[in-house]
């Protein structure tokens, strides 16, 4: 820590010490009395920043130039660093942020940039700077560049950051925001406490926001805003501007109502520093480059929607000859997880929206997503199950559809526990009509339902069916010969995978397994939407295999059948993968599943089929493995022909062209 002594203090500030007696009467300062060094540092810091506004502006501009350097002038920044290095003997690659803190803590007036200008009456000269920096023990702590300060991002360091935030009672700040860097977090917290001790109310979110907006100057800027607010209040109530208020009140007495005066004296960035800083973080993450196509989705986890988001990204990447993956941005709006980056084209820009923003308040999230989507100036915006984008569509959809091609995906409706239909098609189909350029469904079934429900004319524009293609399908699987020989001795294997959520009817799977103790059920998946509840009981023949990252790694050739038990669905991508692999399918005919499980080539059961019905069907498939695999092979060929990326891309191009009037 900084060891302040009178040797560190410039002569003009020695006189300031005379006021410390008065200062100690202030409550906040009295509380600090146990640490005289902190009083000194805080007071000198206040003195430094309470220079005239003009002087402050000049200082902060110079600091900004030195600490960060304007982007267009990296060479200028280098020259400044070289000059400072020449004078101080410090290496060029030091942490100038830390140097700045030392400078402020030492209470030295002016700023280091004055040295480069040769020194003025208000600025220190080279000797003063040398005196400040040479032979100081703390210069060792500077020997890390600001770039290197980003630090490690291991889960252990994230935990440490979380611990630090919990200590100050503010664990809500997204940990990603602090880069999982405990040291930087501790420094920000220390800055926050220092400012609070000096009478400038602030919190960790505000500190991080200021650090984002004014790198290296967060302390100074927080204090400056606080100082201005106090000064403004004083000037408007008793100072120079009070007379102007009184004069205006002669024309309109309401100006001076109520008697208590204005509720607040707002100093920008207003309305919210965190909002402004969040946008800067998002834009920086996107490397401040526009996008041609933006896919907005809620999460990129284990879901068909994430697969469709990836598929659309692939299609966009090859939609025009001059488009590269880098022209595509995929925004995750609700959850940070990106479990399967390999699904997406390499080079696509992913934006972890919740992990970067500093506020989780819904109005601010809406404003930020609106700003990002408009700022990217994309030709196309595609909503693939983003709740946040749906929420702003009703207010701003026309803006998007006016300036971009704005389309939204509908998958299946959801079913509430009480049996009623819910979900985006129910909530938004008619309400967003006119806000988007068109809707896309992955199934004829859903499109037919919507057309029927809303009595759309056959040729009504704006509702399109787009068959989701196979994405890097596994080659058709051959039934394992050993299995074929051993059907009478080995235990049959039935494969099942999916989210352990209500929709996927884990209860049905369990009942079937209970009824077939002679058959092994190999199960992959986890609870997602119903996270926290594990509905899978422990049964000897119900074998949990965890999750998989690659469908091809599953023991498909050993399967006697794939079981699919969804209660409602669109066209599940998993089902497509199974069908394309040529594995015999036994599954529920709900929503769009019949568009994969073609009649006669897979065993489809009615939505109200019982466990007993499934058991019967599975037994038949086990008994006729040869026939089942032969039919599955035909289905595989058909699915591969129907669902490929080339066809998807061409259909998507046609749909988008409708907005363009082609």
């Amino acid at each position: 820590m900084h060891q302040s002594s009178l040797d560190d203090i410039s002569p003009p500030f020695v006189g300031v010490l005379a006021f410390l007696g008065n200062l100690s009467r202030v409550k906040g300062v009295r509380e600090m009395a146990s640490d005289k060094r902190r009083i000194l540092a805080a007071f000198l810091y206040l003195s430094c920043i309470s220079a005239s506004k003009t002087q402050f502006h000049a200082q902060t501009r110079a600091f900004r130039a030195m600490l960060q350097g304007p982007k267009e002038s990296r060479s200028g920044q280098l020259l400044q660093r070289r000059a400072l290095a020449r004078i101080s003997g410090l290496p060029q690659e030091v942490s100038y942020k830390r140097l700045f803190r030392r400078w402020v803590d030492a209470g030295i007036p002016g700023n280091p940039m004055g040295i480069l200008a040769g020194g003025t009456s208000e600025q220190p000269d080279e000797d003063a700077f040398k005196d400040f920096v040479l032979n100081r023990a703390w210069t060792g702590e500077l020997a890390t560049s600001d770039d290197a300060e980003k630090g490690p991002t291991t889960s252990a360091s994230f935990q440490e950051v979380h611990g630090l935030l919990a200590q100050i009672g503010e664990p809500e700040v997204p940990q990603q925001v602090l880069n999982g860097n405990p040291q930087a977090t501790a420094e920000i917290i220390a800055d926050m406490k220092r400012l609070n001790a000096a009478g400038y109310a602030t919190n960790i979110t505000s500190m991080v926001a200021h650090q984002t907006l004014y790198p290296g100057e967060a302390m100074a800027m927080v204090a400056e805003r606080g100082r201005r607010a106090k000064e403004l209040k004083q000037r408007l109530t008793t100072g120079a501007m009070a007379a102007l208020v009184r004069k205006a009140a002669q024309f309109e007495p309401l100006v001076a109502h109520p008697a208590r005066g204005p509720n607040s004296y707002v100093i920008p960035p207003n309305p919210n520093v965190a909002l402004t800083a969040s946008l800067k973080r998002l834009y920086d993450e996107l490397e401040r480059r526009p996008a041609k196509h933006v896919v907005v989705t809620n999460r990129c986890g284990m879901s068909g929607a994430a697969r469709v988001a990836a598929t659309a990204s692939h299609a966009f990447a090859t939609l025009e000859p001059d488009t590269s993956p880098d022209d595509i941005v995929v925004i995750r709006t609700e959850h940070s997880d990106l479990e399967y980056p390999q699904w997406f084209p390499e080079g696509v820009r992913h934006l972890d929206f919740p992990g970067l923003i500093l506020s989780s308040a819904q109005p601010e999230r809406k404003k930020l997503l609106l700003a990002v989507l408009r700022g990217l100036a994309p030709q196309t915006i595609l909503n693939v199950n983003s709740r946040l984008l749906w929420d702003i569509t009703l207010a701003h959809g026309k803006v998007f559809s006016d300036q971009s091609r704005f389309f939204a995906y509908f998958f299946c409706s959801d079913m509430r526990a009480d049996g009623y239909e819910a979900g985006y098609p129910v909530e938004f189909f008619y309400r967003a009509m006119g806000e988007v350029n068109g809707f896309i469904t992955d199934s004829d079934d859903l499109a037919d339902t919507l057309r029927s429900r809303y009595m759309l004319p056959d040729n009504a524009p704006g509702l399109h069916v787009l068959r989701t293609p196979l994405l890097d399908p596994v080659p058709p699987v051959q039934r394992a010969p050993s299995d074929a020989d051993a059907t009478t001795t080995a235990r049959p294997k039935i494969l099942w995978a999916g989210r352990f959520d209500r929709q996927k009817r884990v209860d049905l799977l369990v009942e079937i397994a209970r009824t077939m103790p002679d058959v092994d059920f190999l199960v992959w998946g986890k609870a997602v939407l119903d996270a926290g509840r594990d509905p899978m009981p422990s049964l000897p023949n119900l074998i949990r295999k965890g999750t998989y990252s690659d469908f091809a790694e599953l023991p498909l050739s050993e399967a006697h059948a794939w079981l699919y038990t969804s209660a409602w669905d669109g066209v599940p991508t998993l089902l497509m993968d199974v069908a394309a692999a040529g594995v015999p399918l036994v599954g529920s005919l709900v929503g769009g599943t019949g568009e994969v499980m073609h009649d006669g080539l897979a065993v489809g059961l009615k939505p109200d089929a019982s466990a007993k019905d499934y058991v019967t069907a599975i037994r038949q498939v086990i008994a006729d493995q040869e026939g089942a695999w032969a039919r599955a092979a035909i289905l595989a060929d058909r699915i591969r022909d129907e669902r490929n990326l080339t066809r998807y891309r061409e259909d998507l191009r046609d749909i988008l062209a409708q907005k363009d009037g082609n």
Binding site: F251, V255, A377, K398
Partner: protein, 250 residues
């Protein structure tokens, strides 16, 4: 050619405009004391019944009055800018008030900057909201260290109650409204376009505009909150960092 045109837009205000014109006359008087000449203009945009009669009073004889049929405040301001015969234009809504020093101090500062070759637009240092709201907002000059381009994405940094060389309004007329499509903040757009074109925005220390904020219906509040600028080019991700002029001349 006058130094300043004091331009007041009126739609439905009658008695409410009394304090406005009182403050405007005080500000004009102070400007004239400073040796500046002032042209007075009122632009009525689709005036409500009784409005024109109200302004027939002799107190308004010194004001040049024109009636417009835009239903759009921005378009009315554009028309007044065309009609005005002054170097600098100052707009005032008929329910707001100027501090009495704003015209004089602002114009003298703009003249000084113009003499230095700086293209600048002046704003009051403080927006003082009263009646429905009760707070103060300090405006920032475009070269203020606290000013960031990102701030301009979420808040209009300068409203229309400023003072600008006439050419700024002729070169950058207010964009049309389209409230059905959600575009309705023409002064915000104007701020962005002038900033992007290199105009320096300066706040005049110790000046105030008193802005009346009457209670609004919830639906009107929601509509206003949802309004966005039409032309987003200055705020584009690859241009935003250049929004704030870095040099003092345009």
């Amino acid at each position: 050619m006058a130094d300043i045109a004091a331009l007041v837009t009126v739609h439905g205000e009658t008695v409410l405009a009394g304090p406005t014109f009182g403050s405007a006359e005080a500000a004009i008087a102070q400007a004239e004391l400073a040796g500046l000449t002032v042209e007075r203009r009122i632009g009525f945009d689709r005036p409500k019944p009784g409005v024109l009669d109200h302004f027939e009073q002799s107190a308004f004889d010194g004001w040049i009055k024109t009636v417009h049929d835009f239903g759009d405040q921005g378009a009315t301001r554009n028309a007044l800018a065309q009609l005005a015969g002054a170097d600098f234009l100052a707009f005032l809504d008929a329910d707001d008030l100027w501090s009495e020093n704003f015209l004089s101090e602002g114009t003298l500062e703009l003249k000084r900057l113009r003499d230095q070759g700086v293209k600048a637009i002046a704003h009051p240092e403080v927006n003082w909201f009263f009646e429905g709201h009760n707070n103060c907002l300090q405006l920032l000059s475009s070269d203020d260290p606290l000013m960031t381009p990102e701030y301009c994405v979420f808040a209009n940094p300068y409203d229309a109650m400023g003072l600008a060389p006439r050419e700024a309004h002729l070169d950058f007329p207010y964009g049309g409204r389209d409230t059905a499509a959600g575009y309705a903040v023409e002064d915000w757009q104007w701020s962005l376009e002038t900033l992007a074109a290199g105009w320096k925005h300066v706040v005049i220390e110790n000046t105030i505009v008193f802005k009346r904020r009457q209670a609004m219906s919830q639906s009107r509040i929601a509509t206003q909150a949802a309004a966005v600028v039409r032309n987003y080019e200055p705020l584009r991700i690859d241009r935003l960092s250049q929004l704030i002029p870095t040099s003092s001349s345009g």
